[in-house]
């Protein structure tokens, strides 16, 4: 044991990336000149030296088994000299120096159930969180909704027929591990019932001042309940963020009857044309309807199709809505504008319409 401890290393960091770069990338690192989209899911990058690197982008759920990773490895060995990478949105990417390998690779990917696409004016993989697969605070499942939405929108992944890019993200609670707040379409799990406090556990499991401080609307205050030191929640002030639950396990908000998802639209991260934007609330609540969440997939398809039919070329969803105005967007989609749509948190006034610039 002592010997083992002596040999034990810490803080050596990740392996250096250089050893994982294919020779063509090492040779042309920093020398790429331009790229072209050859067909959906396939890019070519051309170097100053004339070298060509082909990229095949394959769909992947972010939850993958070691069996699948080994299948990817086999394909990397067969077509890419043993190299591959993953993208920031969970896609599997294969980098080829030989163009003749592109189509056989795509055929083999199809055999193991991985369509290619997600480049250019398309929808790419949905960035998402753990959901019921692995998280204690999830208000919905993540992988399941993602699967259903992408099954439904697969044509927009495999083809490039949209006006511009469309990025979808899902977070299964307001903690937003997936940071969905700047997505063209965000699916956000929401709780709608205040925490149920287990007063016998608060003192044992939680720091009461931290619990009070955790509430963005100051709805939690210390209280003695049945002789026990605990907290009370002013329910009128609770907006179900579950931050109290994050710091105090004795205050769960999860509830099968009230949990569900909300849909947000019009955010973007890229600086192209318009500055980055936050997503805005569109559908305040859709109940969880596993296993296929049909109300969610229908709502999202409708948004995508209305945008696709009406936006100018390159215009992202948020840019298009900004041009036509929100009232028109609500009218076109038939979604009812409700009190939930009006911000009432800090600086809410900045979101009020403060001009006569409206259309009739």
């Amino acid at each position: 044991m002592a010997e083992a401890m002596q040999e034990r290393r810490t803080d050596y960091g990740p392996p250096h990336y250089e050893q994982f770069l294919p020779p063509i990338i090492k040779e042309n690192y920093g020398k790429w000149k331009y790229h072209e989209l050859l067909k959906p899911g396939v890019l070519v990058h051309v170097s100053e030296s004339g070298a060509k690197l082909f990229t095949v982008r394959a769909a992947s759920g972010r939850l993958v088994s070691i069996d699948k990773i080994r299948m990817f490895c086999d394909l990397a060995d067969k077509y890419c000299d043993g190299y591959m990478r993953f993208t920031s949105r969970h896609n599997a990417e294969f980098l080829l120096s030989k163009s003749e390998n592109v189509d056989p690779l795509i055929a083999d990917l199809a055999k193991i159930g991985h369509p290619i696409g997600g480049i250019g004016n398309a929808i790419t993989s949905i960035v998402h969180t753990q959901g019921w697969v692995h998280c204690h605070s999830a208000a919905t499942d993540a992988s399941g909704i993602v699967k259903c939405v992408m099954d439904d929108l697969i044509e927009y992944f495999e083809e490039t027929k949209l006006p511009g890019k469309l990025r979808i993200a899902l977070a299964c609670c307001l903690n937003m591990c997936g940071a969905v707040h700047c997505s063209d379409i965000a699916i956000l799990g929401v709780h709608r019932r205040p925490p149920v406090i287990d007063h016998t556990k608060v003192k044992k499991m939680c720091e009461i001042p931290n619990v009070s401080a955790s509430c963005p609307t100051a709805a939690i205050r210390p209280a003695t309940v049945d002789g026990l030191p605990s907290v009370e929640v002013i329910e009128d002030r609770c907006m179900f963020c579950a931050n109290c639950y994050t710091v105090c396990p004795a205050m769960p908000l999860n509830d099968p009857v009230n949990d569900g998802v909300s849909i947000w639209v019009g955010g973007k991260v890229s600086n192209a044309r318009h500055e980055p934007m936050f997503s805005k609330l569109f559908i305040p609540y859709i109940p969880n309807n596993p296993p296929r969440w049909p109300e969610v997939t229908t709502a999202i398809r409708q948004i995508v199709e209305i945008w696709a039919a009406n936006a100018n070329k390159y215009e992202r969803l948020g840019e298009w809505i900004e041009r036509i105005g929100w009232p028109k967007f609500f009218k076109m989609t038939g979604v009812e504008f409700q009190s939930e749509h009006i911000d009432d948190f800090k600086h809410a006034g900045l979101t009020f319409k403060r001009s006569t610039h409206i259309t009739f």
């Binding site: 990740p14 790429w32 790229h35 990058h45 939850l63 080994r70 990478r85 969180t129 700047c182 192209a272």
Partner: protein, 399 residues
């Protein structure tokens, strides 16, 4: 195990359709792993009852590290003993998420031996996520990871695993070497990454250009986004080629320019670069003809985060342009100043963006010794509640 998969009528519905199915993945793993089989069982119950069955976490880890392992226990351990412990290990990915099949297979072999066989490639922050490990297997996994030179990533109130776009490895728009910087910062700040000592989490994300493929401006406390400050490079012949192939340059490129600084006379493109906002649109549309300039570096923006607790923030400009070259001393000095201040004055679970909102950007800049400049704001203040710094007394003698 192979013949004993639980019945999962609800989840089976998620094996239909063309998108890769996570249920199929779990079933593949379940053929050898009782952990994955019990995960299927519990998940089916969640799908039936519309609620998750995970306990609130717990403190587990490997010796010498304060983060990188997320404790997770099933709330139904009697029904699903295989997932009574189901911890997550975050493994620091190589910069840019490049791998050899050999390295991936070694990780798979370790995870087949010691864990559920399920992963996320990758987690939201960028790590390789090994999903589902018993407490007593954490040390053995780490032992084996050491042998193949993979280390643990961040979690909790520490520096989270830095991540970046593929940068110069496969992109002509990379204005600095994102992978080199990411690796360097990761190595330089190993202690901050592995031992939580901050008020809350801190993320670096490196994007090579303003297209921001790693969502740096929305998701990192310090966003390092590549940019150039000279003229966009124009290849006139390639512009002509685009026009001849039918691109409507006026409509697709010129009319979409937010700085209104591009002119197209039907033959040539000219750009008044002094009004270029570096949005990337024209370059995105004509990658063969237009390229970022040659005087390249990065912009530093600070403070973005998801909503909890003060609301979602986007990062805002801290340094409009900085050269990004090893050993990155200027950048690291600035990071150290920010951390010194935030660690000293920040409240528990207060992100640096929230800290800045609380103390004021001016006060923050003063403390980290950065001069205020107009690039930092969308516009000057609209209210007159100014904290004037000095006032003069009537009776003060002129000197």
């Amino acid at each position: 195990m192979a013949d004993q998969l639980p019945s999962t009528p609800k989840l089976d519905e998620l094996e239909k359709g063309k998108w890769p199915s996570f249920v199929t993945e779990i079933k593949m793993a379940a053929k050898r792993s009782p952990m994955a089989a019990d995960l299927l069982g519990q998940l089916e119950q969640s799908y039936r009852e519309k609620i998750g069955y995970w306990k609130h976490g717990g403190i587990v880890g490997v010796m010498g590290y304060g983060g990188g392992v997320i404790g997770r226990y099933s709330a139904l351990p009697k029904e699903y003993p295989g997932i009574s412990h189901f911890h997550t290990m975050r493994i620091n990915q190589p910069a840019g998420w490049f791998y050899t099949s050999d390295s991936l297979r070694k990780i798979c072999d370790i995870w087949e031996k010691h864990g559920s066989g399920l992963t996320n490639m990758h987690g939201s922050t960028g790590d390789i996520i090994l999903l589902g490990c018993r407490t007593e297997e954490l040390e053995p996994v780490f032992d084996e990871l050491q042998k193949i030179d993979f280390d643990i990533g961040g979690s909790g109130s520490d520096l989270r695993t830095p991540s970046c776009c593929c940068g110069m490895a496969r992109c002509e728009w990379a204005c600095y070497d994102t992978m080199a910087l990411t690796h360097d910062l990761t190595m330089h700040y190993q202690d901050e990454l592995h031992r939580p000592a901050f008020p809350y989490k801190f993320k670096f994300k490196m994007s090579g250009c303003p297209n921001d493929c790693v969502a740096s401006i929305a998701r990192s406390d310090l966003s390092i986004i590549g940019i150039w400050r000279d003229e966009i490079q124009i290849d006139k012949a390639a512009v002509t080629e685009y026009a001849e192939k039918g691109m409507d340059i006026q409509s697709d490129v010129v009319n979409n320019c937010p700085g209104k600084c591009i002119n197209w006379d039907g033959k040539e493109i000219t750009i008044d670069d002094s009004f270029c906002r570096h949005c990337m649109h024209c370059i995105n549309v004509m990658p063969k003809a237009l390229r970022p300039g040659k005087d390249r570096g990065a912009m530093l923006l600070i403070g973005s985060k998801a909503p909890i607790i003060e609301g979602a923030f986007l990062s805002s400009i801290l340094v409009p342009f900085i050269k990004i070259e090893p050993p990155y001393t200027e950048l690291k000095d600035l990071v150290d100043k920010i951390w010194d201040l935030w660690c000293e004055e920040g409240k528990n679970r207060e992100r640096v963006g929230e800290f800045i909102q609380r103390v004021g950007l001016s006060a923050f800049l003063d403390e980290i010794e950065v001069e205020p400049i107009p690039e930092m704001v969308a516009h000057p203040r609209e209210n007159p509640y100014v904290f004037y710094e000095d006032y003069e007394d009537d009776d003060e003698d002129d000197k």
